[in-house]
Amino acid sequence: MTRAPAGLARYARAGQPGPPPGRPPAPPALPRLLPAAPSGQPASLAEHLTRYGPRAAVLTERSRVGLLREVQESGLTGRGGAAFPAFVKLSTVAAGRDPVVIANGTEGEPASAKDKVLLTSSPHLVLDGAVLAAELTGARQVIVVAHRDAVAAVSAAAAERGRPGRGRVQITVRAAAGGFVAGEARAVVNWLSRGRPVPTAAYPRLFERGLGGAPTLLHNVETLAHLALIGRYGAAWFRSAGTPAEPGSMLVTVRGAVRVPSVLEVGLGTPLQDILELAGGPSAPVQALLLGGYFGSWARAEEVIGQPFSAAGLAGAGAAPGAGLIAALPADACGLAETARVVRYLADSSAGQCGPCLFGLDAVAGQVEQLARGERDGLPLLRRWLGQVDRRGACAHPDGAVRLVRSALRVFASELDQHDQGWCRGTRPDPVLPVPSRRDR
């Protein structure tokens, strides 16, 4: 049995205790996806069924239509970073012939751990959701692409479910490729079919023509876990958390200057301050937060700490929930230096297929490194290159890097002045944001 990744194995619940033992399971309050108490082990099939009850099954066409309507009313959106409405994806793929469902647990983002934690603590929930998605769309095959730290847990869970009978959905578990861009939807399909985890022009519209030419439904594993619960408890229950515009709960990875770095499940719209408190509170004064992922944005602590963690709440600060990363930057760290390391990693992670990304991100990273070192005259050139790189690739990778750098230039403007004058507030010896070493890329 696998353990959740060290350092992020602990998490907190943010709500009422679970149902009293002996009673039939009631729809859970928070946490919904993660176990109420961490055990370090994936929930077995028996534990899973005790907690959630039997899974929703699509037995008739009528129940299929009914369940699809529940998904639509629930307002579930993707939890992989793009927040695309789940119902739209489901119904579009359902209209195709012989579709395939892919559960994307690649989690190429090195700072995020939510998918790994979800897969290693509640794998059956993800499998339930994937199978439900297959039944809703008429697919007969589900492929779970899991981060290599979670493959064992998911494979064991799939094995526990036994072999499907004739006509039932077949589950295959595959290890994901490493690398930042490997989690992109087309990269996952390319990885499965050709062993190359890079976005490709061969799949312009996955929902029409994807893996093996079939209409492909690709969802983040967390989205499928939510789907599994909507199937059981309905749209109204799902909407009982979150905000009316952004319903439901979300997994977030809280790290950096907090006492208990953890993966938490919170309702959308929870104030950031409360989320940091759930992670033990700040371990040092926080100057800024990196929100969403390495493709997300920096925001100054004072402008965002009281805001609800939602697209609406963060929009004013130019940020978004993204893939749920909340990284707190302590006051004694240098935001420019951290950004420089991350951008260099992003540049090295380029699939290398598109000139503007391959050459442009490398140039941008070089300029940001210069700024971090205190050479400010490269700033106009950096801005020029940011404009030339943005949205010029086949995927959103360069866009994310540009977004990160632009937000850093705004949030750490005073750092630029300080570096110009020859000093830096960064006094800590260790970096805050994790960047895989070159060997592991």
Binding site: G352, Q353, G355, L358, F359, D362, A363
Partner: protein, 203 residues
């Protein structure tokens, strides 16, 4: 028509065939060199990049016209028996079967390259490029044909043209080979920053 004039007329077809063949050799060599220049970006200094590419294409089409002249005059010539089929099927000719056969082979290969190039938009880049590699085979075959079929190598300026074209083609092919070696480390057709090779980032 007097007997001398008719003899001159019949000789005329043979002269025309060999002359057009020699012109064709020069033109095809130029097509090869231009194609390699376009691919490797080795065009001199200020020359816009579309010039070698477009010249390559237009000259190739011009070669087709000259090829028709070359083949038809050879077939119509009463002194040699070649036969229509031998223009595309190798080694069917009565006259110098090996030499003519090489010509037929060159026509086949060049024809495939031409046809796929005309239909490039419909075939897609990958398929077009796969067939286009045959051009590297077509030229040596055509060159071998020109050495064996013409019978005029004893004329000094014919020999000059032949070996001049051979030298030009050999140089261009070497350059192409160097280019391929310099960029062999790059993934697909991309060079990584810091690995831009001879042509300064031009792939």
């Amino acid at each position: 028509m007097s007997a001398a004039a008719s003899l001159a007329g019949q000789q005329g077809l043979w002269f025309l065939s060999r002359a057009s063949g020699l012109t064709l050799l020069i033109a095809c060599t130029a097509v090869l060199v231009l194609g390699i220049a376009a691919r490797t970006g080795a065009a001199p200094g200020r020359l816009p990049r579309f010039v070698p590419a477009e010249l390559h294409r237009n000259l190739a089409l011009f070669c087709v016209a000259f090829l028709v002249l070359h083949v038809v005059t050879a077939l119509l010539d009463p002194f040699v028996t070649i036969g229509w089929a031998a223009t595309v099927l190798p080694f069917l000719s009565g006259y110098r079967p090996l030499a003519i056969g090489l010509g037929a082979l060159a026509v086949d290969l060049g024809g495939a390259v031409l046809l796929t190039s005309l239909l490039r938009g419909r075939l897609g880049y990958r398929r077009w490029r796969a067939v286009h590699w045959l051009a590297y085979l077509a030229w040596p075959v055509a060159f071998a044909h020109s050495l064996t079929a013409g019978g005029d190598l004893h004329i000094w300026w014919v020999a000059l043209v032949e070996w001049g074209c051979g030298a030009a083609a050999a140089t261009a092919l070497l350059a192409r080979a160097f280019h391929a070696l310099a960029h062999r480390g790059s993934r697909g057709s991309r060079t990584r920053p810091g690995n831009r090779g001879l042509a300064g980032g031009y792939r």
